[in-house]
Symmetry: C2
Subunit: 232 residues, 2 copies
DNA sequence: ACTGGCTCACTGGACTAGCCTCTTAGACAG
DNA sequence: CTGTCTAAGAGGCTAGTCCAGTGAGCCAGT
């Protein structure tokens, strides 16, 4: 089971009705030109129009609520949240899921800051975790592996060392997208060694508590790691 | 529970069963030391243990799935996602909601980059939206208002002008937390005028397509706007 | 001994019908 | 005009039922 996950083989599509409903409702909101504060049709009505049961529709509404698109109020109805912008953003993201340049952009923004903060705030524990990740990656590479696990550990350790839960949450948000690029990058010949070397530079800057150098090294690292996809 | 001090009259807390269930399941995951790949108890079992119907539990599971905590597979069960880290992060965030310094940190990181990108990529339309926001804020202030609406519009226009949907999504993610700080900051005497002035500096840099100046102006602006909370 | 196919006991997916609480507008009494 | 009450309609939740995937184990055919 873990093997399949490592290889990136996503389980085949498991169709879920509520997911389709989310898409349809999003489309409806757009087509009906609904503004923040407007009400969605009543559940019984919507369910009938969409040809599903209320229970299933309720799941879709929960999903939309978690996504921040609507706010369901007992006795009143489902009102559009103040920021319907997220709706279009989410929709856009779902459509073309891998906008590599944009992901790299977001990643370097976040991780550059994270590296700088890590340099400023790291404890000895943090440093130990970073060095451990380095060791894991080195071992993986000398065993002929790509070092993806160590790579992941390293970036997680940096994130933890920055001691900023809000930024950490944002990283978690784009972590999945990054994962896809990570595998490809480390698949290039000679790339794992390069990557390890630039990891070492980042770690050194953090060890020396030099925020600027850490940010710079991280930016250089991400650039190195990211240029692969750009040629595709 | 504190009053959510928002202009737009937030409805009083409306308890929803599925929300409590999410919390309980999160707590269970932690207490049971479940690791990624592990299975949650079966729906029928869990529903009985939690004393709710399967339909309601299904809503909680949808919420957890949207949050990225689990992955529900037909015929197999609900498996914990690879990154359970988000679970603890989410939990932490929900608990002490206002980590102001961290929010400011994340905000300046994102908006600094966004401003630079906006300067590099803005179209004439984007510029028009930015100027419009400036106009709205000026009108609000001269009417004796705090200018929150214009302020919000301005930052949204900048985000749009950066043309980076991934970064935009990250901004949307922390937008709600920022909202709370915005009101407080603009409530300070003389603050709206200062804020408007620094908005103008940002807009000018973007008009001149000068990324560095834009980022710098944005950072200065956020610093100005944020120092209030730090003295509290 | 292996392979393939079958079964069956699980798992979640979805629907239905019904009753509850909450909200709100409008009727009605003062 | 004002305050109160009520009923319609909104969402919240439950219980019961059936459908559809999954996977372990059995058992025949090779």
């Amino acid at each position: 089971m873990e093997k399949t996950a490592r290889l990136g083989l996503e389980r085949v599509s498991r169709p879920r009705l509520y997911e389709q409903l989310v898409e349809q409702i999003l489309a409806y909101i757009e087509s009906a030109q609904l503004k923040p504060g407007d009400l969605l049709p009543a559940e019984r009505d919507l369910a009938e129009r969409l040809g599903v049961s209320r229970a299933t529709l309720a799941q879709a509404l929960v999903a939309l609520e978690v996504l921040g698109v609507i706010d369901v109020q007992h006795g009143t109805g489902a009102v559009l949240a103040r920021r319907p912008s997220v709706a279009s953003v989410i929709k856009g993201l779902r459509e073309h899921r891998s906008r590599l340049p944009e992901i790299v952009e977001a990643r370097s923004t976040l991780e550059g800051k994270l590296a700088a903060l890590a340099a400023a705030r790291r404890t000895d524990e943090d440093l130990k975790a970073i060095d451990h990740a380095l060791g894991v990656m080195a071992k993986e590479i000398s065993a002929g592996d790509r070092g993806t696990q160590g790579d992941e550990l390293f970036h997680e350790a940096i994130t933890a060392a920055a001691h900023s839960s809000v930024l950490a949450q944002l990283m978690a948000f784009i972590a999945e997208m990054i994962l896809e690029t990570r595998m490809e990058s480390l698949g290039q010949p000679g790339r794992p060694e390069q990557s390890l070397a630039s990891h070492r530079r980042i770690a050194d800057a953090i060890r020396d508590q030099d925020p600027e150098a850490a940010a710079e090294a991280m930016l250089a690292h991400i650039e190195l790691v990211s240029d692969v996809e750009l040629l595709r």
